[in-house]
Each structure stands twice: as structure tokens, then as C-alpha cells.
Symmetry: D2
Subunit: 339 residues, 4 copies
């Protein structure tokens, strides 16, 4: 049995008391908190709740205790969790300053909550466009200044972290390719900023949540999990969006889980269908690529939406989300208690 202590609670006094009662117990630091491991004893789980320091009694130590017990606030611009879908939109790569600024203003007007945009890219080919780097970060900072939108930008190397901090990036994105790059995760977390953690296309749920555990353990206040399609035998679309993961993940963590329909679809024609599906299946938000002129984009040209397409999509998706959550029961058959 495991006792998760409350934030700030110290174990020393409790250990003494428990030992005095004949309970064999050991303390383990878990991130900023403590967990006490109770070795075989005569008490029921409930009995331990009479000690004030104990927040929760857990039958088995979860592989990812911080992720499993996380309870906090998620701040992304004007988004109110639970009320409407979260929207994070913007171009795959930042390419031209004027386009970015005008797009940021349009997105803000459309009710988007955060701006995404690539500065340093992770490209499969070394001969592909690798991003504009620091210049792109400068333009993003300017876009933030004029639109008020917080910034969500992918980090591809620990070398860039100081720069990201200096330029005021609000949410650090860890891409699918770096989800299990644990040494980068530790560096990213040390900035104590929120992190958007994409699922590696081959990651099982536990592997994904363990990557989030690295982030919480090393200082990230919260992590937004982002499903972006898994690799399967089927290449009808670029990847297979795993919509089942939204309700399964919700049984294991209270961290928000969003979807990236752009990378799963690979072609703009299918982005809408995947967006609706993800929200209907329980995704809390959408990370989507929007570009002023997709056909001239220097990366992911086939999958980015025009602003007009995005606006139509968002309207329909917001309405669908409201419809699903009316009556207060979005997922009537599922419960956090049962599996």
C-alpha cells in the first residue's frame, strides 16, 4: 500500500507515529512530494486517511505516480478547461513575418487560445527546410505582443532552451520524435514551463505517461498530452489517429489530452473528419496547422488549412463539442473509477 502525502507535507512526524503503531513503513520522495510505502500490516486502506498529511491511499504504486495523482490548473490564454475545446493553431513552420502577424490577429479574432509555429524543425531529410531559427522566434514574440496569444513552440535541442526562455515561449512542445528522448525531457522540464508532449507514433500509453512523469518529476508544472496518430500497417492516411486513447488516458490521469489531426491526416481534406472524431471521443482540444498560403508552405504543404477552412472547421467543431457536453454528461458510459 502507498500513501501519497499532500503537497508540502513532511514525512518525519508521520513516520514516527506510524512506527509507534507497529506499521512498517518507508518514505520515498516523488518529485516535490513524498510517498510512504506501507509494508504488510493490519490496517485497512481507509484507516490511513485519518492522518491529515495523507492525500490518497493507493493499492499499488503506479508506474507514474506524479502523472496518476496530478491535480492542478491548466492555463492557456483565455481557455476555460471543460467549457469549450482548446484551440492551438498556426503554421507548421514560421516563414514570413507579415503572414505570421496577420494570421495571429485573425486567429485571435476567431477565438483561438494559443499560437503555434515552428522555428527549428525536425525533418526526415537533411535536405529539407530546417526552419528559420532565432528569426522565427523573434517574429513569434512579436505576434504574441500584438495578438496577446501565448506561444506553443517545439523544442528540438537542449541548446535552444535558453533562447526559448528569453523569447518568452509559453508552452514548450516536445515533438513525437523526442517523446522518449529522456535527457532532453529533463532539460525541458527544468525551465518550469508547461509542456505539450506529443505521443510517439509507436508509444503505448504507459510509455507516453512515463515520459510525462519525467517532465513532472523534473519541474514542469503540467503537461498537455497530444495524440497525433500512431504508425500501423495502414497508410490510407499518414498515420492512424488513435481515438480510443482519449477515454483510456482519462482513466489514468487528470492531465489534459488533446489531438493533432493535421499530422495524423497528412492531407487537408481529412483534417475536419479527424478533428470532429477526436473531440467526440473525448479530446479536450485541438492542435492544428493553419497557413496563409498552404500550397506555398515550405513544410507539410499538403496538410495545412487555409484560414477560411479553419474558421469553418472551428465553428462546426465548437458546436459539436457544445452539443456533446450539453446535459452535463459527455461520456455517459465511462467512469474514472472503473476500467
Amino acid at each position: 500500500m502507498w500513501l501519497l502525502l499532500k503537497q508540502g507535507a513532511e514525512p518525519a512526524g508521520l513516520l514516527e507515529e506510524l512506527q509507534a503503531e507497529g506499521v512498517s513503513v518507508q518514505a520515498h520522495p516523488i518529485g516535490q512530494r513524498w510517498m510512504l510505502e506501507v509494508i504488510e500490516n493490519g490496517y485497512t486502506p481507509e484507516a490511513f486517511l485519518r492522518w491529515e498529511e495523507v492525500e490518497r491511499v493507493i493499492a499499488e504504486k503506479p508506474a507514474f505516480p506524479l502523472v496518476a495523482t496530478w491535480q492542478g490548473t491548466v492555463n492557456v490564454g483565455s481557455w476555460r478547461r471543460g467549457e469549450a475545446p482548446l484551440w492551438i493553431a498556426g503554421p507548421c513552420s514560421v516563414e514570413r513575418k507579415a503572414d505570421l502577424l496577420s494570421l495571429a490577429l485573425s486567429l485571435r479574432r476567431a477565438g483561438v487560445h494559443a499560437l503555434r509555429g515552428g522555428a527549428y524543425k525536425a525533418r526526415t531529410s537533411p535536405y529539407a527546410f530546417q526552419g528559420l531559427g532565432e528569426e522565427a522566434l523573434d517574429w513569434l514574440a512579436e505576434a504574441k505582443a500584438i495578438s496577446g496569444l501565448p506561444l506553443c513552440v517545439e523544442v528540438v535541442s537542449e541548446k535552444h532552451l535558453a533562447l526559448y526562455q528569453k523569447k518568452g515561449i509559453d508552452i514548450l512542445q516536445v515533438g513525437a520524435r523526442n517523446m522518449d528522448n529522456y535527457w532532453l525531457l529533463q532539460e525541458v522540464a527544468s525551465l518550469r514551463l508547461p509542456v505539450l508532449l506529443k505521443r510517439n507514433p509507436q508509444a503505448r500509453l504507459e510509455e507516453w505517461l512515463l515520459a510525462a512523469e519525467y517532465l513532472l518529476l523534473h519541474g514542469a508544472p503540467w503537461v498537455m498530452l497530444c495524440e497525433r496518430g500512431i504508425r500501423t500497417f495502414d497508410y490510407s492516411l499518414r498515420y492512424t489517429l488513435d481515438v480510443g486513447i482519449f477515454s483510456v488516458a482519462a482513466q489514468h490521469t487528470a492531465l489534459p489530452v488533446v489531438a493533432d489531426p493535421s499530422h495524423a491526416a497528412g492531407r487537408w481534406q481529412h483534417v475536419a473528419a479527424l478533428t470532429y472524431a477526436a473531440l467526440a471521443a473525448g479530446a479536450e482540444g485541438i492542435l492544428v496547422e493553419v497557413h496563409t498560403e498552404p500550397f506555398h508552405a515550405r513544410s507539410d504543404a499538403a496538410q495545412q488549412l487555409t484560414l477560411e477552412q479553419f474558421l469553418a472547421l472551428k465553428e462546426k467543431a465548437d458546436s459539436l463539442h457544445a452539443n456533446l457536453h450539453s446535459g452535463g454528461v459527455a461520456q455517459p458510459l465511462q467512469s474514472r473509477l472503473e476500467q
Copy 2:
């Protein structure tokens, strides 16, 4: 270039006329119709449309011409295609007569369009319950008589086909395990009944559509395609529901495509999320397992819904579908013309 002739049109006269114009051409029977293969000539595709017998000019012969060009009517009880989701519900296996009859009446009252139920089962273990066989078919026929619901029942062996016909089964279901059992497909199609064709969990779209082509070629009037989850590296749920396939399939065929969330989920808690996701992604209907007492079911006990759960699910799903299709534009970004 290929000319698909209209239903009932004979090629002889057209062949003569075309040859008189110097066009080198050859006729191929495709199911009940004819396709003319035009070998290199001076005409544009549109030119051939002035012959009345020609329904469509196709640049390249599709691998599945009947599936690609199918245009017909789908009749399942009171369902009106395009207006609301199709609902096919019922127990995994038929187990007790009284339960089945009462369930059929309840489902009819709830607006379900067809009754499903297993008579002969395909079970992974030879020691598992294999279905009640002919007795179950008798009870299903009785349920149809009192409820008016058409019947959709899985066929597992060509030996049973005469029996299915005699008992008045309306839609023959070919299970995922038999999708590529081509000799069974031919026998099934020869009954000239509609067929619900589940996707094999490892089938690529083309393989699935080719299986449907077997059915149309050998006599089935129409085929309903049913996505029920694919096999991937991820076992968070029993299978991974491939929601992207709905909009991709719609680019290749006008045959209806529905979803089976029960087999994809494997656990009842996740059936609702997958149902909403499938409809939001473009599925036209839902095939779902409903049982009077799921926990006592002799097969698939973990994934069947109670009647109450089903009613709540259907209400929410119908509302979501109506919301998505209001304004007449369900999938604003996707078109049948572009890929």
C-alpha cells in the same frame, strides 16, 4: 480509357459504331454490366458521353470497378440514408428466447433499424461457446415477426446458407475473420441478399474494397462496409478503431460505411466514446452489441451494453449526428473529387 455502360445497356451496337469511327475497343463484362476498354485513339474522354449507353468515362480501370461505380439504394427497415445514423443492435450471441423477443421490441421502440444476433459463432477457442445454431435462427425469425425489425446475422460456413435463406435473414454478415475467405464470399453473394462486410483487422482499404467487389460481382445487390478496429501495437483497447477510413473510403465508393464500436472497444466503458467518434468522422451507422444481462452473456460479456446504456448512447449520438449535419455541410473540407 474505360467506358462504363449503363445498367441494361448492351455493348454490341456501340462497339460497331465506335469501330466505324476508327476507335479500337474491347468489351468486358463487369458483374451485370459491361465496360468497354478504349485503346489509344484521338477522342477526349468527354466525347464518349454523347453515346447514350455510356454512364461514365474512367481514366484508368479501377481495381474494383463495381465498388467504385456502385450507385443504388440501401434498404434497412425504416432507415433513410443521409437523414440519421443507421442503428443495428442486438446481442453478441442469441442465448434465451424470451430475452431476445423482449429486447427486439425494446430496440424497435427505441428507433433501431435492424436486429443483430449470433447463431453460429466464430470463437478463438474451440472450448468456447459456439452458438445455439438453428434454434437461434428460429428465435430470430420470431423476433423479426413480432418487432418488424429486419435481421442481420453472421454467416460462418457455406453449409448454413440455405438455412439462413429459409429463416428469412435479411442481411448476411461476413465477419472480420472471413473478409478474405473469397470462396465463402462467392457463396454468400449467390443468395442475392445485401451483405454487411466487416473489415479484417489487418486489411488495407484496397483489400477490403476488393472483398466487396467479390460480393457485388457474384450477385449481392449492395454491401455495407463495417469498420470494427484494426490490429496495431497498442492494446489499450481490444483493437484500434480506424476513424480515418470513413472519409477515405467515401472517396472511392458510394457504398455505405458503418462502425462497430463494440468489438473495437472490447469493454463497455469505451463504447460510447468510439460511437461518437465514428459518427463524427463520417460513419453512416453503428452496429452495436446490446444484451439484457451483459454480465451473464456467454460471449463478449465485457463489451455488451445494457438496454439502458444503449438508450442513453443512442440519444446522445443521434443528437450529435443531427448537429454535425445541420447546415447541410457535414464535412466541409472533404470532397469526392479530390484526394
Copy 3:
């Protein structure tokens, strides 16, 4: 605890004796034999071995008891199990009589143990060549008569079974597409002939062994398991040959496991590499497609070997197998007892 009785042993007397000793016990028929389920009692497993009827004591009833406990003889022509690889070779489809007869004689001369050849084919497209049917079976029977080679032919429909029996087919092949077509398996098994059971490209080991259990339970004297490549995200070759399955399967059953490198490779250039790999990993034999003129083959033209290529391959492979098994220790690190 489970007691597997010897072939022919009746449970009645034993049940009485055990009950007299205070052991609570129940008898279950397993194919042609009996298993006794021992409910909690004071005896050690070894204690039950003093009853002569008991062949083996099993801690937990395996999901596939007949497969797990099978111990018998495998007869395929002149092959001696354990001494050299088993070779089953021949064309994908039987196409011309003269070619087949001459090929059969050449294969016999080369030391091949059985002749394979397709009569009724399972083709992905309904427009592809479907096999010559009964005529092909006649030619195969003639090839057997002149070469002395036993025949291994795929069954695609229960309707053909009587014909297969009449024509003297020795080993009934169940193709990958029919591995989990359980009603066909039962019909096939009822002929009481040995069966070569291909693994479905998406089947997990347990599913494969359960399909073999269907066969043993319904009358097949033995089953030869055949790995032919699984479906993965990687299409460098047609399928991914799962070489790890040979040593894992050997931990669960004494049934022979062979490989089909032709279907896994999909291109003749890679057949040799996969053959060597399969034998090195523990496959007991090879099922390979050989054609007199591969480039004119009406099915699988890209993957069939010429006779010359096959002879070179077999020589190298036999030598490799002998090298691996010299010193009596083929797989020094693996044991049937440990997992």
C-alpha cells in the same frame, strides 16, 4: 491441477479411486482423451503420477491442451524429423501438366520431401486467376504417381474436401486467410489427414495455436505450423518474417513449425536470405514456391524460384542446417523447460 490421461485410458476407475482418497475431481473429454480437473486437495503434483492412467500433471489447464501435450510422429515422404530440413516445394498455381510432371521429377531428384501446388486459389482480386480446380488436382495426382512425392495442397472451401480426399491429397493446407475460419477448420480436420496450418499475418501465437487446437480436437492426427510473414508497418518486403516465433513456439508445443519464405519475401531475390534465417532460427522445414518459368506464372510471378535457383538454395540451406546441428546442440541457450 490437471491430469492428462494416456491415449485410450478411461477415467471411470480412476475417478472412483481418487474420490475414495478424498480428492475432489471432475473429468473433461479433450479430443480423443480425458483430462481430470483436480480441485484443491492435499497432494503434490508428483503424487498423481503413481496412477498409471496419468500421462502428465499440468499446473494450469493450458488454453490449447491438445497442442500443448501433443506427442506423435510426423510423416512426410522420406523426411526424418530432426535430421535435415523438411522441403515442400512446387508452383504457386498448377498451370500446365507437362511442366508439373517434369518439375515433380526434378524436385524428387533434388531430395524434396513433398510437392505443393495450387488448384483452387484465394486471390485478393476477383479478376485474378482463380486456379484450374479439379483438373489441377488430377495432374497433381499424376505427379504423385510418377514421383512418389506426397501432395500438400491448399483447401479454400469445404465443398472441395471430398474431391481432395478422392484425389489422394496427403497434407491439407489451410492458408493464412483461413487460419481463423473455424468452421472450415472443423471440416478439414474431419478428414483425419495431417494439416499444414499457415499463420494469419496478424495472428498472435496463442491465436495460431488455438486454431491448431481446433484441428487436433476435430480429428487431424498432426498439424504442421507454417510461419509466412506478419503484417507490420514495414513494406520493404511483402511481409515481415517473424523468425523469433520458431523458438517461442517450441516452448509451447512439440508440433513441427516450418517457414514459407516465398510469401514473406514477395520477390525471389530475397527468398534465400529468409530461408537461411528461418532455418537458423529454428524452423524445421521450408515451404517454397518453385516454377519452371516464374516470369510466365499466372500468380505470384515475382516471388517464385526457377529450378536452378532452388537447387542452389537447397544445397546451401542443407549445409547450413547440418552445420548448426553438428555437435548436437543447435540452440544452446534455449530450453523447452524454461521461458
Copy 4:
């Protein structure tokens, strides 16, 4: 058409000459060399070979030109490429100095060519042992000094690179999790040391070769590709060793390709079978985990071999390799020219 110029050849003179002949041509730097793109002209490919600067004429520019055209020497200790398998062995993690030194000497005596050992580990859980870091590197350097074995050590962060250089690591290993961490690849390559590049368990061949292209482009003299199992639906073993990739990769590059049977197997009992299979399928070498006391290992305890097990394995594997390559024709059916 593309002309690959020889190492050191400058394009200026050739450009002039070609333009004088009316050939429209453009020069592109590819790593340390030049490629000339020839736009439509009247010459046959062979014609361009009369210019001395041209090493090779390529019909289409490959996605990975440096990998496709690489021709160099691979030096790993006493290994002579083509004559025997390459052996790189050692513990998963370096844990105790005395054990490492004694193991290094034993491995050297056994004919191993390089020593592997983990200093900084990439572990799925943040609570798992993360490696001894710099201390481990020191012990490795000492093991190299006394045994003469070159060192192959995994790099998990660009921060450690200077340290790796200082400690004299000979081959930098990029783990499966970092294969597509392109910014790390660039940093690693900048040390101008050879790199062992593991295949990401979800990478297709082209993605793997493009990662190698990053390394060659940014300064690595050569790259050793290492297949270590792919992720599939099947978990009989930890991963599925893709043995087909060895002969396919050889059609695209002359870079050496080796196998890591330890990570694919996940359990020591299956390491031998996978080792034999990999070599038989064309792998040029084996990277294998050997530990003085596997059951006490702090990582990968289930899959490491004891020294005794390794010695038996190596003897058998070397003999098998010699047998396969006797007569000079290892893979009689496969050619670098055809696909």
C-alpha cells in the same frame, strides 16, 4: 540525370566543359563532394563517364545520396570486413569496475572486436537506474587500455559529447530512441567519429537511411546501421527482429548493417536463435549484451548473456557464418543490381 563527382574533384572546370557541349547543368554540394544535376540533353548516361571527375552516373537523385554512394573503409579493432562476423559485446550498463575490466579481457580473448557498455542510459521510467555517467566512462577507458578493444558507447545528450571525445570513445552509438532526433545527430556527427545508428522500432528503411544521411552529411566518416527489432502487434518477444531488412538495405547502401539480438529478444533464451537468424539473413555483425552476473544487472537483467553462454554462441555463430560464406556465394539469389 545526376553525376556524382569523385572525392576532391571541383565542379568548375567540368561545368564549363559541359556547358560548352550544350549540356544544361547545375552543381549541388553533397557533404564533402559535388553532384551535378543534368537537365534533359542528348547524351546517354555512359557518355558522361569519359570525364574523369565523374565517379558515377545516377538516373534519379536518391533521397539519401551520401548513403547511396558511400564507399569507404570500416575499422573496428581487428575486424576484417567480409571475413567473419563483427562482434561488439559488453554489459547493458557499466556497473562495477572490476567486473568490467575482467569481462573486457575475457571478451578480447574470445575474439570480440569492440567493447560496448552503457554510461548514460535512456530508461523508460524516470525511477529506473540511469547509469553511472562519467565514472562509467572512466572505467571503460581503462578497459580499453588494458584490453586494446575499441569502445562503442551510446550518446543520449549533446551535453556529454565533449566528455565522450575526451575519454576516447571510438564509436558513438545513437540509440533507437534517438534515431530521428536530428539535432542530436548533427552534433554527434560533428565529432567526426564513426557512429553506430540503431533503427527506431517504427522506422521504415528510407527513414533509417535518411538519419544516416544526416550523419554522413554533418561529418561522420561512416555509419554502422543496427537493426534491433521493430514494434509490431506481436509481443511473443520484446520486439520483432526484421531479418528481411539486411538484404533489402544492401541494395541501397554499402554501409555495414549489423543486428542487436539482445533488445529484440528481451529474454536471454532467445538471443542465440536471433543471432543465427540475423547472420544467416546477411547481417555483418552482432551487438550483444554480456554481463558477468546477468541476474544482478541493474538494467535489462532478463536479456543479458553470461560469458559462458556468449562463448558458446559465438563459436556456433562464427562456424555458421563461415559455412554460409564458403564457396564465395553467401546469397546466391540476391544482387545489388536488381531489386
